[in-house]
Structures are given as C-alpha cells and as structure tokens.
Symmetry: D2
Subunit: 470 residues, 4 copies
C-alpha cells in the first residue's frame, strides 16, 4: 500500500467507432493511473488522431472530443503520476510520422536497457524528443519498418532489442498490434464480443464493455487484432516466464483475472495462508481498506476469527490537498482513515494489509488502533518483505526507501509499534498465486531478477535458502 500505481493500456478493433469503448475501458483501468489519459484512433480522413489530457479519464476528455474522433481501430493509455514531473508531455500514446504513414504506441512497463539503447542510437546520430522508454520503442519500430521488415517482423525485432517489462499496443496506420514481453512481466489480456477484438491490461476492461475474456496474451506473443479475427505471432521466448507477483498482491483490481488467476482469489488465499503460517489468538480481523480487504476475509475464514470493518475509509479523499503545516498534515491522515472505537476497544486486533513499503502509513494505523483502545495489534502482511528495488515498472527505485531492506522483521515490528508482525512467506505467496515460482518475477522480495541488471543477481543464481534469511 502506498505505491504509485502502474499504467493501463487498451487496444480495440471493431466495425464501428471505438472512441467511446476506449474511453470506457480506460475508466475501468483508471486505478492503474490517474495522472493523464490518451486515446489514438485511426480515422479515414486524417490518419491517426491522438487526444491527450491531464487527470482522470472523465476529466481528460469531453464528450465532444470523443464524438469527433471517428474510427474503427484505436488504442488508449492511462498514466500514473510521479511527483514533480506531472506533465502533458509524458502522456501517451506517443505518435511518429514515417515514410509509410503514422504509428502510435502506448506502453506499460519499464525497459532496463532504454538508456543504453538511447545512448547507442544517439551515438549513431539519433535525436530524441523525450527521455521516455516509449520513445525508444517507437523509434526502434520505425527503424525496423523503414528497413523493410513487414510489420510483425519489425515488432519481433524490436522485442529482441529491448529488455525489460512491457505490454504494448501499437497502431501502424489502421492496423492494430498488441505485444507482451517475453517473460510476461506486465499483464495483457485478450477479449472479444462478436467481431470486436480487444486487448487490455486487465480483464475488467472487458467486463465494463460486455466482452468475454478469451485468454491472456502470452509472454512474447504478438497479436494482430482485426475486426473479425486475430492473428497470433510468437517470438522465441525463454523457457520461464516472470509475471510480476505484485499485480495480484496490489496493483490489479480484485475482479481482474490475470494469467488465468482471479486476483481476489489470490488475495483471499494469501490471507488464509497467513492465518496458518502466522496464527494468533485474537478477537477480530480488520482490513486496511480497500487494499487489505480480500486478504483479511481469507484470514478470517481460515482462522475463525471474526471479520470486522473496524477502519473506515473516507471515500472523498483520494485527491490530494496540500496542508500547510504539520498539524494539518496529521489531520490529512485522520480524515482519510478512522478506527471505530467501539469495535476496537479492548480487542486483540489482527490488522491485515497487502504490503509494507516505507512503513510510515502502517505505523500511523497501528497507532490509531492503539489510541482507539486495541489491547493488541497483530499485523499480517500479504506480501513478503520488500528488500530490493524494482527495475521493471514499480516506483520503488532505491533500497533506502524500503523499510525491509536493512531491518529484520522484528525491527520493523518495533518500528510500527505492533505486538506481532508476520509477512506471508515466499512459498505461501507462490502457492496462493498458483504458479510455479519460476513463472514469477519476485525481484523486489528476493533480490534476484529475471533479467540481467547491473549490480543485481539474476534469478536462478541463488538457492531458496538464501531468501529465508531476509
């Protein structure tokens, strides 16, 4: 909890105008990014037309905007906000004009070799407009297309050059492609209703539009979406995939199905396993709303300890209002979360949340519960200790910001003021997701990454025993 969220992408090919459908799909993916939103549609008259705006999807586009871009094929993007660089120039999709027409591309993920690719091509004389990974990808694609590759081959070649996490939707003039990195780090699903085909970061986008989830785009797969059909192209991919486990733990909506696994089920199972791995004698199980709710329900069912919504979330405080001094900033916390004293008072509370990153919010919540009269607060966390940075798309870039990077569990427990603290084990997490551990990217909890990163270990180079020392 407390992480910046990922981006969301969508692509659709239909036999009618698609701007409202992209808009609706982006609203369903709104939780993946609230900074900016963009839509590119291929129109008969003007080629690819791209609209972008700041804020929520409903703020970024007016009804008039949507009604003006008419076309049967298009892509969309919602972007998360990182402090200090919130600007329309970072909004996607990104467009390029090349000799054969126009390209638009939207990207969710992070390349580990973007900088070196950019430098390599700068040395070759390229000038870049931005410092974004997305420009690197669209420029490489432009080059491949120019070099005479057919479109699918061009995309394959780009995928061979870039390294990292990516889910992509690409318009090349009126043709729509989707691609997922060879390890399937970022999610991407395929949906359908009649002749309309769609890809989206999460299946909830299909639910909002009445489409059926057909399957996930496979790691390393390229899909061309047309009105009426899809064509799949596979690149050669590593034996093992590396789905980001954090999607199930925190990023995705509970009602999404990622790589065949319903997010809600994972979260609930994590709660169940936590109850078995770290049982505790307590009176009530209280979730941190909304992120810990499914985990808490699982813990309650498995432990037989009563589930209670003992922390109330003010649903109107998502938007930030900067308060001028310390007292005011404290009000900002208390106005957001409120413990129900009569449910908490004198109770031994199991407090369940999805994860701990910096530990500051959890410390405040434990303190709130104690002030509300909790006799004991036992914290149970649905994600193993985060000990290492993420280089593949999550906004945790340095060990310094991770409380677990240099503290033992007991030190953290003391820091947050809990009576006990337990994290789900890596094994428990893996089992809850229901994948093989070698199918997951767990770099941030193991320090071993599925792709080579300077100064870090590669997955498979260490043994399980090592992890357990964290």
């Amino acid at each position: 909890m407390g992480l910046k969220e990922a981006c969301g992408i969508v692509g659709i090919a239909s036999d009618t105008d698609v701007s409202y459908e992209i808009f609706t799909a982006l609203r369903a993916l709104q939780h993946r990014g609230q900074e900016s939103a963009g839509i590119s549609v291929f129109t008969e008259s003007s080629g690819i037309v791209t609209l972008k705006g700041m804020g929520l999807v409903t703020e970024a586009f007016s009804e008039e905007d949507l009604s003006e871009i008419k076309g049967n094929t298009g892509i969309g993007h919602v972007r998360y906000s990182t402090a200090g660089e919130s600007s329309i120039k970072n909004a996607q999709p990104i467009e390029m004009h090349i000799v054969s027409g126009m390209i638009a591309l939207a990207h969710n993920g992070e390349l580990v070799n973007a900088e070196s690719l950019r430098n390599y091509y700068k040395e070759k004389g390229w000038a870049f407009f931005t410092t974004s990974d997305s420009e690197v990808i669209i420029r490489l694609l432009s080059k491949e297309l120019h070099d005479g590759r057919d479109e699918v081959t061009a995309i394959k070649d780009v995928m061979r050059s870039i390294n990292g996490s990516y889910a992509l939707v690409i318009l090349i003039n009126g043709r729509l492609y989707a691609a997922r990195d060879p390890m399937g780090i970022k999610p991407l699903a395929l949906g359908r209703k009649g002749d309309t085909w769609m890809v989206a970061s999460e299946s909830v986008a299909f639910d909002a539009l009445g489409l059926e989830l057909v399957r996930d785009v496979q790691p390393g797969e390229i899909i061309e979406l047309k009105n009426g059909s899809v064509v799949s192209h596979r690149t050669e991919v590593p034996e093992k995939s590396a789905h980001c486990f954090f999607e199930w733990v925190y990023f995705a909506r509970s009602d999404s199905i990622l790589d065949n696994v319903l997010v809600y089920d994972v979260r609930k199972r994590i709660g169940e396993f936590l109850a078995h791995e770290a049982p505790v004698d307590a009176d009530i199980v209280v979730p941190v709303p909304d992120s810990g709710r499914a985990h808490a329900i699982g813990f309650s069912e498995a432990s037989g300890i009563r589930y209670a919504e003992g922390l109330m979330k003010n649903r109107y405080v998502d938007r930030t209002f900067i308060m001028p001094d310390q007292k005011m900033r404290e009000y900002n916390v208390s106005v957001k979360l409120n413990p129900i004293r009569s449910m908490i008072e004198g109770k031994r509370v199991v407090l369940v949340d999805d994860s701990i990153v910096r530990g500051t919010t959890m410390k405040k919540i434990v303190s709130m519960l104690k002030e509300a009269g909790a006799s004991e607060v036992h914290v149970r966390i649905g994600c193993p200790p985060i000990v290492a940075p993420c280089y593949l798309g999550i906004d945790m870039k340095t060990r310094a910001q991770l409380i677990a990077s240099d503290r033992s569990v007991d030190e953290i427990r003391e820091h947050i003021g809990a009576d006990s603290l337990a994290y789900i084990s890596i094994e428990g997490l893996v089992k809850a997701i229901g994948k093989d551990r070698n199918e997951l990217c767990m770099g941030c909890i193991t320090g071993e990454y599925p792709v080579k990163i300077e100064g870090e270990r590669l997955r498979g180079q260490s043994t399980l025993e090592e992890y357990l020392h964290f």
Copy 2:
C-alpha cells in the same frame, strides 16, 4: 441506495484559529453533501466573514482562503446536490446584518411550515432573498433578537415557530449556538478536546480532529459553545423523539455514533436479523458495495453463509460523466459495478443492500449477477419497504418515485428479477437500532409522521397491524 445525501454542519469554539478545523471537519462530513461548502468565522477585524464554493470541500476552498480568515469561533456546511438547481446561491452558511451586528446560520433539515411562515411574513411585508428554509429561520431569529429577546430566548422562540427537522449552528457575532429540533430528527453531536468545543452532524468529524464525542445534542436542546465551556438550554419538548431511522440505515458513515448508537452495529444487526427473519439456503452473501457491506457481514455471521465481495466497485466513478446515448449510459453502469464471475458462477447468492427506493439499480445488479452465472439471487434489504414520501429532509418527495408505494413485495421481486426478496421488518429495524419505535421517525416506511403534515397521518394514529399490510 441511490438517494441524494443529506447536508452536514459543524460549529466550533476554540482559543486558536478554527478555519482549518472547520475545513477538516467538513471533509469528514463530505459524504453528506458534495455540491457546495461554506465556512463562516467570526473575525476581530471584520465581524463574521463567510466563504463559499462549489464542489468538494477541497475544491471549494484554497489553502490561501483558509489562511486568510482568522478567528476562534466559526461554523461550516456541506450541501448535497439536487438536479437542476446546483448553484452557489444555495450554498450555506447564510448571513444577515442586523442592528446588533451579524448572524450566520447553517441548517441541516427541512421545515414543513417554511412555506406558510414565508407567506405569513410576506403578507406582513417581508421580502425574502431566497426560497430556502434557512432564510426563514435566520429571519425569524433576526426578528426575535430585534424584539429584545436575549439570544437563547430568541432561538427558543424561533424553535417554537418552526416545525420540521433541523440541526442548526448559529453565529451571533462572536457567540456560537447549536440547536436540534424537538424530536431530534436530524443528528447533532457534541465533542471536546481541552477547551475546544465542537458540534457536528456526525461524530466522525471529531475523530478526524482528535476530539472526544461527549454526547449528542438532545432533542430540543440549545447549546452555547464557548472556548472552555458549554451551556445547555432546554426547550420544552414532546415526550417522544423521532430520530430519522434512515441515518443509521444509509446516510451516516458506518463509523459514526448517532444518539449513542454506532451506525456500523445497527447495519450489522439488521443483517443478522434479516438472516433470521428471511433465511435462505445459499452459497455466498454478497454486499452491494459500499452501502450494503456491514449489513452483509451481519447476514453472513448470523446465517453461517460465506461472505464474499463478489461485486467490485470502481472507486473512480463517483463523479458523473453524462454519456450521450443509451449504449453509453449502460457502459456507465457496468463501469461502476462489476460482478466477479468465478465467485458468482453456479452459486446461490444472497445479495444484500441497505434499501430500495426506485428499484432501477437493484434490477440491474440482479441482472448482472444472473449474467455472471448466479444460479439464484436472493435479495435482502436492510430497510422496510419505502411506501411514503419524506417531508423532513430526504429527497423522496412523491409516491410515484417509490417502487414500494403501490407494489407488493412479490411484485417488486418480479420487477427486479430476484428469486426471492425480503425486507427487514419494522420490528427488526427498530430492534437493530435499539431505540423504542416511538423514538424514531419512520414516516417513509409507515406513512405516519411525527409532525402534522397535510394529507398524511400523524404518528400514533394507527396501529402496528396497519403497517404490516404494506
């Protein structure tokens, strides 16, 4: 569910500037109204200064606004929106200049004799700026003060003239009064931290600021709040109070304590009683989020049927975006609520919500669940059938808009497409609240009102048996 919300008020007397505290309290009461917000503070230099703005509290005021009004005593208001008359001129507090200085007043409630009072005084030569109940109250108060009454007597006299529901905060120059109607229809609570005293529509405002809930303002009570003390003045009041039961069922936040009763507890007990009154053989209990959650938890615990968050709410769609045609409007519903197919499919579902007003939303939700594969959908509602209008502050003004006003439960069941439908009984509701039935206003579910209303029955004029025929 689906009702417009009530207003929220707050008043505070302290020994330091109070504008940030009023602001924070209004954020905690934001669920009671999102159309506009207003703050009046008594300043040494300029007397009462009032700021108002449209939208959420954080949109209505800038940090600069707040820092500019300095004073130790003040009041605040958040207003709900009704279609077509959303305007700054309806925002409160309302101000008046009289011979002895300034008055500001904020009001939550609805008078049944505002029109006749306004007409009476118009006949006497008064000119009114607005058609609001609040102006009637502040004008009567101005008159009483002018006629030489001391402030408390003046307020008492006004309370004798006006009839209906009201919670009031009143600034008379630098003096702060709070008052509650003689039947206690609208909530108003008293809180304290050190020498700071505060009243607010709900106790969650105190929680946000670290104040302690001292007690409720009593029906018919007038309280003068000073820095360091409060003085209570009682008017003669009817034997029986008439707290609006709907505050516990829907309006108030679950974490508020109204008239000594925690809202969450009432909702959960309603769920428990529903499980006993209308048991059903089913697989899962699913709440309509967020309004039916506590009720559903109670139903689950009492019935032993598993609780499941099978409907997911998109937390970014509170703000309306008007879609241009029917297809788009349907997207608007599906983008807001999404059933989790794998949790629903093949299951017998108990669907729990707080209330049914028009029935349109419930019909869509039942249909969603059926489409998601529910084998049976049993609807359980935490409020008896709403058969009559509210004249005392809830936006249900005509029987025509109430599905239960002229349909039997079975007809409603058929309309919404459920396999079974049960409402909590009036007895169950009363028991869940834990008050005597004569302490509650249940006009909308009994057709009998605690105050005389032309064409409607007065509470006490009929027997319980009559209700049961609805």
Copy 3:
C-alpha cells in the same frame, strides 16, 4: 486615468427572447465594469430567473446559459472591481421574493444615505443580507409595494427616501421600469427599434443592437418599458440637475451620447480649449492612449501643433499579472506603454491626458518621454485638479489619495517632472460640455456637492472665485 470604472446597466422589453440582446448590450458596456456580470429575465415558467458570473460578460455566461433563459423582458448589469472584495456575492441584479411575486433590480450609483437608511430600518427590525446600496433600494421598494402602493408610486416613494446617485432598472414580475436620480447624476438613455424598447447606461448599447437613441431618461423620471410602448412618470425634481462631468471626461465611451452631448466632442473641445487656455510652443502633441486621444486631437487642431501617436499601448496587458519584486513591477509599466524614440527625441512634447488622480502614472510617463529624448514635456490635462472626494459613485473616497488635494499646480508639475503643467479650467470644462455649470456635479473639482454631505459644502454655497484658488 487610473480610476476604477463605474457600473453599467441595461433593461429591455421586446416581443421575443431578450437574453442575447442583454448579453450584447452588456458587452457594449463592458468598459464600465469587468468584475462580474448578471442577467435577470422574466420567464413564463419560473418567474424571474437570474444568472450571474465573474469576469467579462463572455466569461460570465456560456452560450448554453443564455439559450436556457427565455423571456421577453429582462435587465442586466456589469460591475467594476474594487480591490479585495471581488466576489460573486456583490454581483447584480439582486432578487427579492415578496407577497406579490418577485422583484429584480440593478443599480449604477451610490447613495449618500444608505447607511442611515439601513440603520433606521435595522432599528425597526429589518435584517439585511448585504451591506450594498442596492439591497437598501430593493428592500424599500418591497416595503412600498407591500404597503399597497401601485408600482410607479412605490418607485416614486423610494426615490423620495434615497439620496445620492442612481440609475436603476427594475423588474417587478414581468414589468420593467427604469429610473434616474432627480439630479441625473448617473447616465441612462432610452432606445428603440420597432416595438422593442430599451434603457442603457450609454447609447453605445443601442448602437450594438441596431436600436435608435430616442432620448435620455430625464432626471427624476421613471419609465415603464413595454413591448410596443413606454410610459413616463415624473417625480418632482430639483430645478437643477447635476450630471457627473466625469462621464464625459473619462468613464463613458467616446462614441456614447450622454444627455444629448457626444462624449468625443466634449473631449476634443476640451483639447481645443486647453490649447487656448494654456498655449505652448512645441513640436508634437502626444496623447496618453487610449484615454487622452480625443483631447489630444483637439489640442492639435486648435494649436496647429502636429498630432503624433508617440506612445504605444500594448493592447494585451489589460489583465493584471502580479509581479513579485520591484524590478518586475517596473517591467509591468514599460510593457504596457512604450514611447517611440524617433518621434520623441529632441522634440518639445505636449502630453495630453484626461485627468490626474494620484499622479503616479503621469510621473512615469513624463519620465519615459524624457528618457526617450524629449527636450521638453508639457502636460495638459482635460479635467481640472481633483481636490475633493466623490461620494456619488467614483472610487475616490479620501483626499489623501488625490495629489491635487493639498498641492498647487506647480508642486504637482514638479512632482511629475514636467516642464509645464496645465489643467483645463472649470469654465473651459463647463463650456466644453455645453451645459450650464449648475447642471453638473463637480464635487470632486470644487468641493461643493449637489446633495448634502456631512462635512462638505453644498453646491451654491460658495462663489466661483473660491474655486480659482485651487
């Protein structure tokens, strides 16, 4: 130059919808006020409907707003801005609900007895919503109407009670009245096209709509405007009127005809008379744009000295942008006005402007011209020294802000750094306007006012000789 501007009002009775016409008329009167704008229309369905907004007329109303208020009779208002109290609550028209329906009123002017009337009626028990003169007027009118007067009599009675400057447009339900104070201090003209009748602060409003200027509303006259006819009602009025001379000198647009006199002609004649009263040997006549242009043309023609647009005004700097430090504030001046060096260098310049209030801007302009190489700068001012405050509608409330209140002409000349300085004489001004001096209000230049003001002399109490000592 540098004064805050006056308000503008308009009223129209037609046989078609009038909201666009009011809107257009207010745009033509935009120079009289840019803070806020308001329109009230009498609609069949909802009685009087009032819209208000902040900023320019085109910012205050959307096209949608205008198309939604349908009615054949209406009034409008533009308001000027005074520092620190810019707020929608000061916007006009102001509305009241009385026993016989609704009233809306818009007012240009200032009452000298508003405070005492407000206090008198507060003592009688009235409560006031605002501290505005306009509320005093509409409340008195409401009282008169309630007391059984017919509408014209009621307006007459109000006019007997209030003292000061006022031009009024009044909607009483669907009936439209216009009234002008008994001395005709503020302007108000009557226009017509076919059956459509209109009043407006200046005749330019008629020009914009293709109406013909019929005549001015007479001092003390009340006119009822109907579709197809007007009815005039005269109150008893003082023998002598007191038109504000400043309207011709500065406030009104050059193309307006006020009380039968074209503003441009007055300004040009003032320039001519200045050339005769204070001749100077010089090379070019340069106006301060745009306020001094007509005066300068007159000076040039009468003196035979060449007219030159030697100061250029940046037409994009009307809106204020607050600069953070002194250097930046100086840029703010130089970015607004720029002398053309090659026209100025080595030249003896006659610099002409309409008036000097504080003297700060004139000082900067003289300095600019000297820096641009002017060998001499001779300042000629189209308004006699302003030595006393205005109590009747102009934002010059204290002698302290008036450079001429305690300085001789030569002291002012030295202060602004000019080689010579001359003001038009009072005789010259009067002659340029072409009215009898007893038909004009010249309080601010004579210290004698047409209405009794505590601590000031009444017009007629002194002799002409006294003025000449200033």
Copy 4:
C-alpha cells in the same frame, strides 16, 4: 486587417536569471501570437528546462513557474493560432536530446522545402514526431552536430539545406545562437544593456526591458550571444534581401524599428503617399482602429483633410465568443466597431486601413458608415492588392481567399460598396519603406517570390509592367 498574426521569438544571455526577462519580452511581442507561449532556460542542475502553456503569456505561466526555472541563458516563443489545430503540441520551443546534450529551438517563419526535406529524411529512415517545420530544422541541426560539425558550422549547414523564411533562436546546452534567413524575410533584432545581450523579433521587446537596440541581425547572419559579448558569423548570402513588407504594413507594432525603419513612419508615409496618389475631396479622414491609425494620420496631414476617430473599437472583444445564429454573429461585428454618427453624418469620409484580404470586414465597415449617414465613403488602403498566396509565413495560402486575386479594383470597390477605392501603388509602398524594391519580399502583391516555388514565378523574372495589370 484580419490576418492571423506571426510568431514572436526571443533569446537572451545574461549574468542573472532570465526567466522574467523572457516572460516580459514575450508580453511585448504578444501581438505576434496569442495561442501559446513557451520558455526554455538552461539550468545548471537539469540542463535545458522548457515550460509551455496555452493562451496569453500571462495565462501560460504562473509566477511560480517562472521563479522555478533559474538560468542565465534562455529562449522564448509566442505562437499564433490557426483554426482547428490549437493545441499544446504545436507550442514551441521544441527540445531534442542528442549525444552531446540538449538542444532547444524556437522558430518564426515557414520553410518552402520542409515537406521535401521531411520526405527525404523519412526515406532515409527518420521518424518525425510532428509535421512542423521547426522539427525539420532541429533534426537537421542534430544531425550536423552529430556529424562532428562545430556548432556554428552546423547551423550554417542547416541554413544551406532549408529554404524559406526563418528567424531562429537556438540553445545548444548553455550556448545561445540566433540566425536569420539569408534574405532576411522575417525580422530579428539585437539588443543590449551592459553585459546582457538579447535578440527578439521586434525591438519593442528591448524597450520593455530597458535594452538598447544595437542593430538588426543581418540576412544570413548567425550570432552567438554570450553574457558580455556577441560573435557574428556570416553565411554566404544572396546579393539581395527580401524583407517581408507586410511586417511594416500590418504585423509589427508601430513602435518597432525593423531593419532600421520605424514601423510608424512607414505607415504614416504610406498614408501621405496615398493622399498624393489617390486624392479625394472629402470632409474627414477616419482610420479603421487600431490597424489604420498611422496611415490615416499621414493621409490627413498630407491632404489637409481633418483627422477624426469616427469608428470606435470596443477593447474588450479581442477574445472570441461564438454566437449561435446569424443575428447573433451580426451583433458580434457591431459590438466590436461602432461609428460615431454625429461625426459621420452628412460627411464625405476617407476611410483608411492597412490592407484588404478577403474584403468581408471592409464591406461591413463601409456599410456601417453609410448607415451612420456618410454621404460618401472613399476607401484608401495602405497595401497594394493582394493577388497571390504567401508561402513564407503569412496565413494566406490560396488565391480563393484573396478578393483581389481575380477582381479588378473597381469590382472590389463595388463589392465593398465604396464610392471610391484606391490602394497604395507598389512604388509608393516601396518608397514609404525606404528600401530598394529588390530588398523586399512582395510575393503576395506581385506574384513573384524571392525563393523558388513550384508553379510560381521567381522574383526578377517579370517586369514591372506585368504587375500593373492586376
């Protein structure tokens, strides 16, 4: 009159922060573009930082924005608006990241070979972000720099490749360059105060900041601006320059000095020559404000016919407000310009404006004057008939939109309803500017262009006689 305006650019090197100075200079150049504004500053910490925003300069940037970008070297741009493509993505400066750092560039002008260059490089494999000329220039520059040219050589090489009109300011990391096309089509001047050096489209930018106009940047010149010095580099340039004559006629501010010639003087001389070339017996000379004022003063002085400001411009209607129907659009015209009847009535009027493009506005003005009672209206125009498109930066792209492209002067006279119509002769225009005719670009009035344009004649290919047939 009625043309879209040109862009404005500025570049500055100083020993203190320059963001406020760029901001102020852009305000002085605001008349050259109101759609968007941008500022790039080289900062120590982050390299080149670019801010852009929509609207006026004061709307595009907040004071906070300006105070946050600290650096001693920077450039700025204001952009004009063309219908339908008003968007932040067209705002300048444009930035690129290359191997040796960052470049930012702002451009005023239009290339005639941008499309072919873009196509050439697309064929070579380049991908373009935009379809703007500016990207072509910065991309070519990036290439030259990459190919190892020193910066000045790189700029020279780019200037050899591109063809058309351009004034450029370029930041290469912390170094600032300015360049002007080899024919000097677009203006660019050099200013100085102490060690601060600046270039700007017009000298009024220097006036606003207290800098001295040093000289114009020469056709084909590249200047490096440093704090304390400038270095000039000349490219080989054609014998003859081709300054756009329209800058003196319409685009530039009257108080600017372009290529040593004060704009006001040119306009006034044009008026004088018009009086001699096309004398007329008339009563008054009336300018179309503000564009025809200087021309009219010249006409008046030369003819001895009295100058009169007989058309009044409403200074609040620069911003467009789209009116819904024809009647309303007509109000839009009349609310903008108003003839003063008493000055016009019965008079023979010489109406003077700078130019006629489409003729629609002039037709309305003539009609206004006739309706105001003018007995005769003689139109005198300060620019010869515009008979051909501009390919070098003015928004007149097709002959179809030019009334003079296929009509004789007498046909135009009839169309606009004037009693007589005369345009300044090409000879008169040239003489008024005071340059040799071969130093001017007069493509739009001669059909002969200084650069080769497909389907058009090159300057020098025809004889003067040909022009006279138009």
